[in-house]
Amino acid sequence: MTPVLELRAVTKVYGSGAVAVHALTGVDLSVNAGEMVAVMGPSGSGKSTLLTIAGSLEQPTTGDVLVEGTPLAGMSAADRARLRRRHVGFVFQDFNLLPGLTATENISLPLELDGVRARAATAAARRALDELGLADRAGAYPDELSGGQRQRIAIGRALVGERRLLLADEPSGALDTQAGESVMRLLRDACKRGAAAVLATHDAQLAAWADRVVFVRDGVAVDQSRPPAGPESLLAAGTEPSR
């Protein structure tokens, strides 16, 4: 089975000479469909850089990145943008939604950018909102939504269409515990439906939702393991920790 995301000996260096910063050094990572991988490490360890390279926002200095078997090297900027629209969804800690667009329009935006007609894109966004349990907030603007609702809509936007790679950078960092858990459950559900997710976090409790944890320190992936069953799984009202 072709991994949804594959990083082969990826290195990223910012600057050059004496001021060169090695953000990533020889990182290998493979994420299959239905799998959620948590990337853990202290601040400045290279977690966010790994996500941005995986999502084609940045290009590695050396190494290869493949999304659904397609190498990103040599792609033009327009092709990379198309890849993001069709295959990759991003969820950030904050500032996820575009002000001035309603919840429905925010979710349908990647589809419209890809040339889907507005009516079809809106219908797809409405279905996504139904599944997110936010159908009644379809016409609300971001500043009329709570933090948890905004992040759920961001996840809806990251997954709308046929995208199978979800990259989340501290997705619940700005949320309270309950809203954060709700967001993690949505990500877990997406993986159950066949998406692959990479979650950057420094929170062990969030990492416990993942199938696998990659530890990054000073740009080097030092260990990969299954996370221990965390207490949050026991607190999850009789539900198993979403694996």
Partner: protein, 815 residues
């Protein structure tokens, strides 16, 4: 939760129409939500469009709707009324030949206390060709032999009013109306009914020959004709050129505004790119914002301009001297201005859009401004633009309009591109200044998109008045062109308003008296010489009546140059004296005896007999460079030609040439002597206006530059709120805040002044390279005002006004 609906995106990477629609929709929503952030740019564009629409419409109406003399007719025959049966026969012949003709009778009548006679005019209302030449302003059209209408000017001159009476021709008439010539509000006359007026001394017959040859007429004293009217085309081109310059200036300010907007939306635009928007789609968001701002401003501005137009038209009519139809609007011109404003606004947004779209997505997502990029490319572009601009201006030789336009645009672009490197140099130079000034200058260098646009706007705002001051001074200092040199006075015997070929019949004693007065004028001028000017005259031709004064005149020989289908531009033939030949650039000894005509005109000349009864002749002609000044005689009949045609000289005037530049009081004294003697004089035009032009250009340029500066500094400092917050947190006081704003304003002003003056100066040196002495005549106060005054005023104003910033400036700007 993957939604796997059967969605069918377009094959192209750009997403096609749905993607563009989504981007424009978001831009529109953001504009509606954050309209306050764009209010400055919108207002600026709005005012520019309103001024352009109102001013353009005013200029469009500057020429009268119909020729004040010809109306809508293409041909007018002025028939002499001395022989009424012959005149009636001529009118019948004209009507038979050309169908519909309009007739206006003229009878000059002397009025006590007035130098010029009053024209009793017998003219019907609503003529086919003369409809635009008569309107009843108040009251009604006169009927019968006992009623008349007068113009406002005539009523004022003679102390008349509605219901009063006038009897200049010996027949009392009740004034029943106030009349006017809508195409010439200075045209004063007494209107009488055609059947009820005095016998006309002359009749103007208005018609259209449609290019056909006419019947032989025996009483025609003058024939007028008009070619195609190119005024509107020229005015439209001028308005569009001026609007382009105005909007270019506004566009630079708008570019700074859009750069600030793009900076504020940096993270949102980064998010857009992260979810798959291409660079072109990111650019579209910002450019669409510019287009939407331009559309709103252009629409509202055009409406405001049109609303103000009726008010402006009312004030304009007395100045331009004709009535204006308020509802006759130049829609194509207005549409062009609106489209131009929208395009300029979109173009102004394109630069920041381009800068944002080139940012790495991760940098945009972080909201951090990019590190300053290399300035080699803008510097190289500035050098290329300057080389092209100066090359074009130098080779234009002040004559080729295309090279002048290309050179000016290239030089302006060079100034634009020189902005970012100059800002970096300034920031480097200010590395050792106190922290507030250093921070302000470094901030300018870190955001070249907005500060570069600001410098370009200020440079352009100052380059225009600098160029105006130098050109005005050069025009004064190098009097090589114009109507006359600043040492010459032209004295004329023909009455003002009469064609120059109509010379009043004067006795020998009267001529001696006039010559004495001219001698008196010359004696009052230093080292002056007097050159008599004679016209060639056929002694066998009968005398005519002056259409202006009704007095007998001699119609001198004329030469015509063809300017279309059977149309001729007429010029009186002066008798070629050696001095006149030299003035025309000819060597008297080199003119062959067989030559009849010496002329500076390039076109082929034909000779008419005054009565127009002979066939046209093509006299032997020699072409010479012609006189340097436009009012000097340029068509001369040689003594041989005079003798061969049995013509005689008749005195028409004198040319007085002084050894020194004439002062205003000297010209005024000569004018007084001429007025007493019944002569008219002409001196060099525009000398008094030069100082006014210089002062107006300087004042206007300063106001414009400081206004542009205030706007751009306001925009830039509003983005510096985060810096202020940090500075305040570290203990900075109000003095630091003032210094920040003052250094920003002073830095931008200094760069704007240097680049604007330098660019304009180099361009002018290229234009005047053969006459650089003109620059030495520019009074020192003007460069001082520009180079020292503007940066000082900007710094002081920045310091003073920064203290008024509200406390909320220290809050983080909303994202």
């Amino acid at each position: 939760m993957t939604v796997a609906a059967p969605l069918r995106p377009v094959a192209r990477a750009e997403g096609g129409l749905p993607a563009r629609r989504a981007m424009v929709r978001w831009a529109w929503r953001m504009l509606r939500r954050e309209w306050r952030s764009q209010i400055l740019v919108t207002l600026l564009l709005l005012v520019a469009v309103a001024v352009a629409v109102c001013g353009g419409t005013a200029l469009y109406h500057a020429p009268p709707p119909a020729d004040p003399t010809l109306g809508t007719a293409r041909d007018v025959w002025v028939l002499n009324g001395q022989d009424p049966p012959a005149m009636t026969a001529d009118i019948t012949a004209l009507r038979r030949a050309y169908g519909t003709v309009d007739m206006v009778g003229h009878t000059p009548e002397r009025a006590p206390g007035l130098a010029r006679p009053v024209d009793y005019r017998a003219q019907p209302l609503g003529g086919t060709h003369t409809g635009h030449l008569l309107a009843i302003h108040r009251g009604r059209y006169p009927s019968g032999a006992t009623e008349a209408a007068v113009t406002t000017g005539t009523a004022k001159l003679l102390g008349l009013r509605l219901g009063g009476s006038i009897a200049l021709d010996g027949h009392p008439r009740t004034i029943v109306g106030i009349a006017e010539n809508p195409s010439d509000l200075t045209d004063d006359f007494v209107l009488v009914a055609p059947a009820g007026g005095p016998p006309p001394r002359s009749v103007s017959v208005f018609g259209d020959r449609h290019g056909r040859e006419g019947p032989r007429l025996t009483t025609v004293s003058q024939r007028l004709g008009q070619g195609g009217n190119t005024d509107q085309v020229v005015i439209t081109a001028l308005v569009l050129a001026a609007t382009t310059v105005l909007l270019l200036l506004v566009a630079f300010v708008a570019a700074a505004g859009f750069a600030v907007l793009a900076r504020r939306r940096l993270r949102q635009l980064g998010m857009l790119a992260a979810i798959g928007a291409t660079a072109r789609q990111v650019r579209l968001v910002v450019t669409a914002t510019g287009l939407l701002v331009g559309t709103v401003a252009a629409g509202v501005g055009a409406t405001v301009g049109l609303l103000f137009w009726p008010l402006a038209a009312g004030r304009l009519e007395p100045t331009i001297g004709h009535r204006i139809d308020r509802f006759d609007l130049p829609w194509p011109l207005i549409a062009a201005i609106v489209v131009l404003a929208m395009a300029m606004s979109a173009a102004a947004a394109w630069w920041p859009a381009w800068a944002v779209s080139r940012l790495p997505v991760t940098l945009a997502l972080s909201g951090r401004p990019p590190a300053p990029r290399s300035t080699h490319r803008p510097a190289a572009l500035a050098a290329v633009g300057l080389a092209v601009g100066l090359g074009c201006l130098a080779t234009s030789d002040r004559r080729n309009p295309i090279l002048i336009v290309v050179g000016t645009v290239a030089t302006a672009l060079a100034i634009l591109f020189a902005g970012p490197p100059a800002i970096r140099l300034l920031a480097a130079a200010g590395a050792r200044t106190p922290v507030a000034a250093r921070l302000a200058l470094r901030d300018l260098a870190r955001h070249p998109a907005r500060s570069g646009a600001a410098v370009a706007a200020i440079s352009l705002a100052l380059a225009i008045p600098v160029a105006a001051v130098v050109v005005a001074t050069a025009a004064q200092a190098t009097p090589a062109t114009g109507n006359l040199s600043d040492r010459q006075v032209l004295v004329r015997i023909p009455q003002p308003g009469d064609p120059p070929a109509l010379v009043p019949i004067s006795s020998a004693s009267r001529l001696r008296e006039l010559a004495d007065r001219v001698g008196e004028m010359a004696a009052a001028l230093p080292a002056s010489t007097v050159l008599p000017l004679d016209l060639a005259y056929d002694p066998a031709a009968p005398p005519e009546l002056s259409p202006t004064t009704g007095q007998p005149v001699r119609h001198a020989q004329e030469l015509g140059s063809a300017r279309g289908d059977s149309e001729f531009a007429m010029a009186p033939a002066y008798v070629a004296s050696p001095a006149l030949l030299r003035l025309a650039g000819a060597d008297p000894a080199a003119i062959p005896r067989s030559v009849d005509v010496v002329t500076g005109q390039a076109r082929s000349l034909v000779m008419f007999a005054p009565t127009r009864t002979r066939d046209l002749e093509h006299p032997p002609t020699v072409r010479v460079p012609g006189p340097r000044y436009t009012s000097l005689p340029d068509t001369l009949l040689t003594v041989g030609g005079l003798a061969r045609r049995q013509l005689v000289p008749v005195r028409a005037g004198w040319l007085i040439e002084s050894g020194q530049h004439l002062t205003g009081p000297q010209v005024a004294a000569a004018r007084r002597i001429a007025a007493r003697a019944g002569l008219t004089i002409e001196s060099r035009d525009g000398q008094a206006a030069v100082q006014t032009v210089r002062a107006s250009a300087t004042a206007g340029g300063l106001v414009l530059a400081l206004a542009v500066l205030a706007m751009t500094v306001g925009l830039i400092r509003s983005e510096g709120a985060a810096d202020l917050r940090t500075l305040t947190a570290t203990g900075a006081d109000a003095g630091i805040r003032r210094t920040l704003t003052a250094a920003t304003a002073g830095g931008l002003a200094l760069l704007g002044v240097l680049l604007g003056t330098f660019g304009a100066g180099l361009g002018l040196v290229a234009v005047y390279r053969s006459d650089l002495a003109a620059f030495g005549h520019v009074p020192a106060i003007y460069p001082l005002i520009f180079l020292v005054g503007v940066p000082s005023a900007a710094t002081a104003a920045g310091w003073l006004l920064a203290g008024r910033e509200p406390a909320s400036i220290a809050r983080r700007m909303p994202q």
